[in-house]
């Protein structure tokens, strides 16, 4: 069994400075904020299930940047159709990492369907994402991430992680600040933002 913090640490160590991260709300965002906050990270504070969809729209419109989505099992189970849409439009620059702790841990620790039968990597493959792996220890994760970082995507990596609380950090509540900081990291002269 992996620890969420070691997965995120490995990710932070391997990605490039320009790589963009869309991170779901919850313990993972708190960990990421603690490990490596940077303007290239976008933190959600709601919209459960939508991280991969935001990542898809972004990956399709900035094809020269890598987009990494940090998602959870409870979140993606709310939006399984996202696998089908990602497979269909197949952005090469999208890596979808699902931290699967088999629990709605942030929302009171009730088990999700992955605690019993559901294999999210198989669901993604069935939806048409061929590069879809289930990993259970850190060497498997490292290998899967190296492959995802070196070969054309889209990629899905489902990492089985322990149910653990995060550091007591949380993304700032100034949502427009989070958005604008991220957009200016994509493009300092972003056409969708007013000039500074």
């Amino acid at each position: 069994m992996l620890r969420r913090i070691e997965v995120l640490k490995a990710l932070c160590n391997k990605i490039g400075d320009k790589d963009l991260i869309i991170c779901m709300f919850g313990h993972a965002a708190n960990d990421l904020l603690y490990l490596k906050d940077r303007p290239e990270n976008f933190y959600m504070r709601g919209g459960m299930g939508l991280a991969s969809s935001i990542g898809l729209g972004l990956a399709l419109t900035v094809p020269n940047r890598r987009v990494i989505v940090i998602d959870g099992d409870g979140s993606i189970l709310m939006n399984l159709g996202s696998f089908a849409t990602i497979a269909r439009y197949a952005p090469k620059n999208l890596i979808h990492i699902i931290l699967d702790n088999e629990s709605h841990y942030t929302a009171g620790d009730l088990p999700t369907a992955t605690a019993s039968k559901t294999d999210l990597a198989a669901v993604a493959r069935g939806a048409g994402i061929e590069n879809s792996l289930l990993v259970k220890d850190i060497s498997e994760f490292d290998k899967a991430l190296d492959k995802a970082l070196s070969e054309n995507g889209p990629h899905v990596i489902v990492a089985k992680v322990a149910r653990e609380s995060a550091m007591k950090w949380a993304p700032p509540k100034r949502l427009v600040y989070l958005k604008e900081r991220f957009m200016r990291a994509i493009n300092p002269d972003h056409p969708n933002l007013p000039k500074l």
Partner: protein, 172 residues
Amino acid sequence: MHMEQDANIFIYNGLKDAGIRFIVSVPDTLISPVLNAIDKDPNFIHIIATREEEGVGIAIGAYFGGYKVAILMQNTGLGNSLNAIASQGISYKIPLLMLMTLRGHLEEYNPADVAFGQATPQILSALRIPCYIPNTNEELYRTIIGAAKLAETSQEPVVILLQKHLFRKIER
């Protein structure tokens, strides 16, 4: 562009002239001609979502990526996407132009669409989302141009509801 001379051609021209190049849709019969045209047009990126809530997420990502975006759907899809519109679109101040065919009003034939259709304007008003209901196709074109500008200025979602009568073929 060969297309039905009804609301479809006005929607196509409106979106194009408003500078919108990224469209997310969940298809609906009435707007299928414009969606088919956009799907084949290399000037647009068109993504067909499985569900409207997913579509809102995709549109937000494309806005981050630098595009002007619009979402086309049936108003029933508003029900499927309300939390995404509120928690992401309004809260993060994202200019989402949303065009929705209006079911559950005059000439409706499906009893399942009446309840949400009748409630749609009030739901939008409860969320303080500007909502426009053009009565003619010329007005529709101007509304698309104006609503795109309003969304950009307010940095918030704006809705245009598309009444059924706009889709009657114009007799020549």
